[in-house]
Symmetry: C2
Subunit: 196 residues, 2 copies
């Protein structure tokens, strides 16, 4: 991430790599206080540049937040991929993936609201084949592989997929909600198995 040549993408001009530093500083702020106290000017200050410097790299604050979202989504995907690495054929793959999904947001509680309510993601449930949100696409293909060898009729797949995803997404939404208190382990609250 340090000694790269100048491409069209990263722009280490005067300040050197400001665009990436803004993204990283922004994510740092999200992890601290969430989206409530987030501000463009704080991000700029964190990078020791004027509060309008970000406008050389992002059209507006939404584009900065979107870039931050892509960065976090990338980390999220890495975590998800790692959780199912070398588990091909294992029928518990779905559970591993679901656990990774939940654990990722438990470890970064502010990411949930940030990603799903501010980063401008788009999830199209009408056209699965179009560019879907990567974590959901992975979830879909993973669930499908297990589903295929379950003998259930193909027409039932979507229901099983969305039911599973809703459960995983729902417990995550609850446990990362600022207003929800729970000091125990989520594994005592939810039975991820017994869906198929």
């Amino acid at each position: 991430m340090k000694g790269r040549m100048h491409t069209l993408k990263d722009k280490p001009y005067h300040h050197g790599n400001l665009r990436n530093q803004l993204i990283e500083a922004g994510i740092r702020l999200i992890n601290l206080d969430g989206m409530n106290s987030f501000s463009l000017r704080k991000v700029a200050a964190e990078c020791a540049v004027s509060h309008t410097a970000p406008y050389s790299h992002f059209k507006n604050i939404d584009e900065l937040v979107a870039a931050m979202g892509e960065h976090v989504t990338s980390q999220f995907m890495d975590t998800l991929h790692a959780s199912v690495q070398g588990q091909e054929g294992n029928p518990d793959t779905i559970i591993l993936l679901g656990q990774a999904y939940i654990d990722f947001f438990i470890e970064h509680p502010q990411y949930f609201q940030f990603l799903f309510y501010h980063s401008g993601i788009v999830i199209d449930l009408d056209n699965y084949d179009s560019d879907s949100y990567p974590p959901f696409a992975l979830f879909r293909t993973t669930v499908y592989e297990v589903f295929r060898s379950s003998g259930l009729p193909e027409s039932e797949f979507t229901k099983h997929l969305v039911t599973l995803w809703s459960m995983v997404h729902g417990i995550t939404a609850l446990l990362t909600n600022n207003g929800v208190r729970y000091s125990g382990n989520w594994r005592d609250l939810l039975e991820l198995k017994s869906i198929f």
Copy 2:
């Protein structure tokens, strides 16, 4: 809602019932544009008072939003109660309640983010007996009545409750998310039965 006497609660002084009108105007704004473009000054303008008039009724914007949240929660509870009215003993009560939960937010898509991320609700999963969030308390008692006559061991109750709630809450979170596109009926996406 018009010809009430002055109690300690509503205060029709100069303007007449401003407190309630602020709450209603605020909820109207939420339904239009969600929490993004919400502002105290717009609510005040909507009521044709100065932008600081709300401070005679609320300590700050968070208290106004909290009052709006209580109002919406009250509507939510009315809807939930109506959905299970006269269904005592019916094992499908849980499904009716879950459907009402989902449908309420489908009809008011902005309420989900508003209620769960801005209205300051508190849900304590450690102490169920303490004042919990009313919709969750209702969900809990409703599920418990069905669960009791299912023969399952008492120790498993919490898991079943939270699993169900997560599923309902999760699909609601997804379908009311601004970034999620789905033009069909949620009943084609989820199988609320087959949990017990």
